[in-house]
C-alpha cells in the first residue's frame, strides 16, 4: 500500500519536473510553428502588406512558378548529392576510427571529427572562403607551383557549396556508420573469408549491409542539414544560388513577404519530412528482417 502512494507521489513529482519544459516547448516551438502554418495561408498585396484574407495563393506561387520549382528540385538534388558523397567518404573514415591501433589514435580521430561541430557554422564556412578565394590557399599554392597563371574563381558556384556542405556535415555521417561498424561481430568477417570471399566481397556482401542502420541514421541527419542550410550557401555560393533556404531568407529579410516565406518554409519542411519518413520506413523494414 505504502509503495503505491510513494509511486504516486513520485509520478506527481516527475510531472511537475516535466511541466516547465513542456510549457516552454509549447509556447516557443509548437505555437510558432502553428502560427507559421496559419501565416502561410495569408494573402499579400502588391506592396507586401499582409491582407486579412486567407487562401492558397502562396502555395500556388511556390508550386507553379518556374523559378521556385527549379529551386525546390535543385535543393533536393544538392541535398541528395551531399548525402551520397558524405556516405562514400564516411566509410574509410569510420573504418579508421573503428580499427585504430590504439586508444590515443582513436581519440585523435574523434577530436578531428567532433571539434569542428563545436565551432560556429560561420567559422567552418568562412574557412572555405579563405581556402577558395582568389587570394586564398588553393590559388596561392597552384600559382606558386605554376600550374595556373591566373587565380581561379572557385567561389560563388554550386560546387563550392557542395564541397563546404560535405566538409561541414561529414562527421554526422561518420559517427553513426562507425557505431554500426563497431557492432558487427568480428567473427562474421572471418566466417565470410573462410567461405572463400575476399576482402572486397566480404565488405560488399557482409559489412556494408550490416551498416545499413548507420547509413540511414547518417543520411537522415545529413539530408536534413543540407536541405535546410542557408548560411553556408549564402557565404560561399552567393545569394543567387537556386536553393530554397536562400529564397526563404530573401523573401523574409529583404522582400518582407512573410506569408510567401512561410509557405516556402513549410514546403521545405514537408519535403524533408517525406524523405526522413521514407528512410525511417526502410530502416524499420531492415530491422524487422534482421531481428524479428
Amino acid at each position: 500500500m505504502a509503495k503505491t502512494i510513494k509511486m504516486k507521489r513520485r509520478n506527481l513529482f516527475s510531472w511537475i519536473l516535466l511541466t516547465p519544459s513542456l510549457l516552454f516547448m509549447g509556447i516557443f516551438l509548437i505555437l510558432p510553428f502553428l502560427l507559421l502554418l496559419v501565416l502561410s495561408f495569408r494573402d499579400v498585396d502588391g506592396m507586401m502588406t499582409m491582407l486579412p484574407t486567407y487562401s492558397l495563393a502562396q502555395y500556388k506561387e511556390v508550386f507553379t512558378s518556374d523559378i521556385y520549382l527549379r529551386t525546390i528540385s535543385s535543393t533536393l538534388w544538392v541535398a541528395l548529392l551531399t548525402t551520397a558523397i558524405c556516405l562514400v567518404m564516411a566509410y574509410p573514415a569510420a573504418y579508421l576510427l573503428v580499427r585504430s591501433p590504439s586508444k590515443g589514435v582513436r581519440t585523435l580521430f574523434y577530436i578531428l571529427l567532433v571539434s569542428p561541430l563545436l565551432t560556429s557554422v560561420v567559422i567552418r564556412t568562412f574557412a572555405w572562403i579563405v581556402i577558395l578565394a582568389q587570394n586564398g590557399l588553393v590559388n596561392e599554392v597552384l600559382l606558386k607551383l605554376h600550374i595556373i597563371s591566373q587565380p581561379l574563381s572557385l567561389l560563388w558556384n554550386m560546387n563550392a557549396v557542395i564541397i563546404a556542405y560535405v566538409q561541414v556535415m561529414l562527421p554526422f555521417a561518420v559517427l553513426p556508420i562507425a557505431t554500426s561498424l563497431g557492432e558487427i561481430t568480428p567473427n562474421l568477417r572471418q566466417a565470410s573469408m573462410s567461405l572463400g570471399a575476399g576482402r572486397l566481397r566480404t565488405f560488399l556482401k557482409v559489412t556494408l549491409p550490416l551498416t545499413i542502420p548507420g547509413m540511414i541514421s547518417g543520411s537522415v541527419i545529413v539530408f536534413s542539414l543540407a536541405a535546410g542550410s542557408y548560411i553556408t550557401p549564402l557565404l560561399v555560393g552567393g545569394r543567387l544560388q537556386p536553393l530554397l533556404p536562400l529564397s526563404i531568407y530573401q523573401q523574409v529579410m529583404q522582400i518582407s513577404n512573410l506569408p510567401l516565406g512561410a509557405a516556402m518554409s513549410l514546403t521545405l519542411l514537408v519535403f524533408v519530412a517525406i524523405v526522413v519518413a521514407v528512410l525511417g520506413w526502410i530502416l524499420k523494414r531492415w530491422e524487422g528482417r534482421m531481428n524479428g
Binding site: T185, N187, L188, Q190, A191, S192, M193, S194, L195, G196, A197, G198, R201, K205, V206, P209, L210, R289, M290, N291, G292
Partner: protein, 368 residues
C-alpha cells in the same frame, strides 16, 4: 580431403609468446582435437591453420601444399565458430549457399547442395528462416552445414559447442562425430573440454604453455600421459612422487622398488612395480607416478597378501549419480581420491570411516 602439416610454427604477440614451437601432422580424414586450458595457444594455432593469423616462424601445409602465404579465402577450408557467426541479414538458405555462390556454381547445383547440407543436419524445413529465429543448437547446425556445403579440404572448429547447455552439447557431439565419419573430412577441433576431446577424436594434441605436451590417441593420452601437465589435465588423477629405495633392502629380481618420500604407500612393504617394459626408470632418483581414482578398489578388510594397499581414512564423499567420489587421507599424511561406480555401496561411506584401498601394480603409472 587433405592432411595438415604444421612445421616449426611459433607465434608471438609483442613480448608474449603464445606458441613456442609446434610441429604436428593431422592425418587425412582423421578427427583431431587440440585440447588445452584457456590461454594455452590452441585457438591461436587454429587461426594460423585457417590463415587469420600469421605465424612468427614456420609453415603450414594443407594437402602437401604450402599455404602459409595464402589468405584464408584461398585455403579451401571450412570453419565453424563458437558463436556460430551466421550472417544475420541472410536466411538459412542464403547462409549455406554463401560459399557456393562465391565458387560460381550453377543455381541448380547450389540448391541441390544446400538442401543436402541442411538435410545432413536435419534442418531442411528451416531453409527460409532467419538466424534470429533459430535456437543456439539449430544455429550451430546451420553453421556446420554452411562449412560442409563447400566441400572443403579441411574442417576447422573453434570451441563450437561451448555456448550450448550440457545436454545439447552431448547430442551435438554425437552428431558431429557421425557427420565427420560419413563425410570423412579431415577435422581439427579446438576445445578445453577434455571429455569432449576424448569422446570425439581419433587423436588428441594437448597444448600447454604454448607447447605440444602430448600427441596421441585418447586411450594413449588417458592411460599413459607423457607428463604431469597431461596427467592433471585429463581426467582426475592421484600423483605420487617416489624415490628410489636405498640399496641393501631386499629387492626381488626384475623389479624396482620405490619408497615414497612423504609417506609409505603400503604400511610395511615398499611398493613393488612391474619394471619390465619401463626401462626408463633405471637410474632415476625419483619418478612421478599417477594412479587413476577409478582404478582403486575399496574394501573394509585388509588383504594380508597384497602389497599395493593402503589404509584410507575417509574425509569427503560426493555422490554424482553414476559414481561416487571418495577422498581420504593416507597414513603419514597425503590424499587419495577414489572413484567408485554407484552400486558399490548400499550405504554411503561416512567421513572418518577406515577403508583399505587396493590397486593393481600396473595401474600405478610412471610419468616419464
Amino acid at each position: 580431403m587433405s592432411n595438415i602439416t604444421i612445421r616449426q610454427v611459433s607465434r608471438q604477440f609483442g613480448a608474449n609468446t603464445a606458441l613456442k614451437q609446434v610441429d604436428l601432422e593431422v592425418r587425412e580424414g582423421e578427427f583431431f582435437s587440440l585440447l588445452g586450458p584457456s590461454g594455452c595457444g590452441k585457438t591461436t594455432l587454429l587461426n594460423i591453420i585457417a590463415g587469420f593469423l600469421e605465424p612468427s616462424t614456420g609453415e603450414v601445409l594443407i594437402g602437401g601444399r604450402e599455404v602459409t602465404d595464402l589468405p584464408p579465402y584461398k585455403r579451401d577450408i571450412g570453419m565453424v565458430f563458437q558463436n556460430y557467426a551466421l550472417f544475420p541479414h541472410l536466411s538459412v538458405f542464403e547462409n549455406v549457399a554463401y560459399g557456393l555462390k562465391i565458387r560460381k556454381l550453377p543455381k541448380a547445383e547450389i540448391r541441390k547442395r544446400v538442401e543436402e547440407s541442411l538435410a545432413s543436419v536435419r534442418l531442411e524445413e528451416f531453409a527460409k528462416r532467419m538466424p534470429h529465429q533459430l535456437s543456439g543448437g539449430q544455429q550451430q547446425r546451420v553453421a556446420i552445414a554452411r562449412a560442409l556445403a563447400i566441400q572443403p579440404r579441411v574442417l576447422l572448429l573453434d570451441e563450437p559447442l561451448s555456448n550450448l547447455d550440457a545436454k545439447l552439447r552431448k547430442e551435438m557431439q554425437t552428431e558431429l562425430r557421425s557427420l565427420q565419419q560419413s563425410v570423412g573430412i579431415t577435422t581439427v577441433l579446438v576445445t578445453h573440454d577434455q571429455e569432449e576431446a576424448l569422446t570425439l577424436s581419433d587423436r588428441i594434441g594437448i597444448l600447454g604453455n604454448g607447447e605440444l605436451q602430448q600427441l596421441g590417441s585418447p586411450m594413449e593420452v588417458y592411460r599413459r600421459p607423457a607428463n604431469r601437465f597431461v596427467a592433471e589435465f585429463i581426467g582426475q588423477v592421484n600423483l605420487f612422487e617416489a624415490r628410489k629405495a636405498p640399496s641393501g633392502g631386499e629387492v626381488p629380481a626384475g623389479t624396482i622398488s620405490y619408497l615414497t618420500d612423504k609417506y609409505r604407500l603400503s604400511s610395511e612393504q615398499p611398493l613393488a612395480l612391474i619394471a619390465a617394459g619401463i626401462p626408463e626408470l633405471e637410474g632415476k632418483e625419483s619418478v612421478l607416478f599417477m594412479l587413476r581414482p577409478e582404478r582403486v578398489q575399496l574394501s573394509l578388510e585388509r588383504n594380508l597378501q597384497e602389497t599395493n594397499q593402503a589404509e584410507l581414512c575417509v574425509t569427503d564423499v560426493s555422490y554424482a549419480g553414476n559414481s561416487l567420489r571418495i577422498a581420504g587421507t593416507l597414513p603419514g599424511g597425503g590424499e587419495l581420491i577414489v572413484q567408485a561406480p554407484d552400486p558399490s555401496f548400499s550405504v554411503l561411506p561416512e567421513p572418518g570411516q577406515i577403508f583399505y584401498a587396493r590397486w593393481a601394480p600396473e595401474d600405478l603409472i610412471p610419468l616419464v
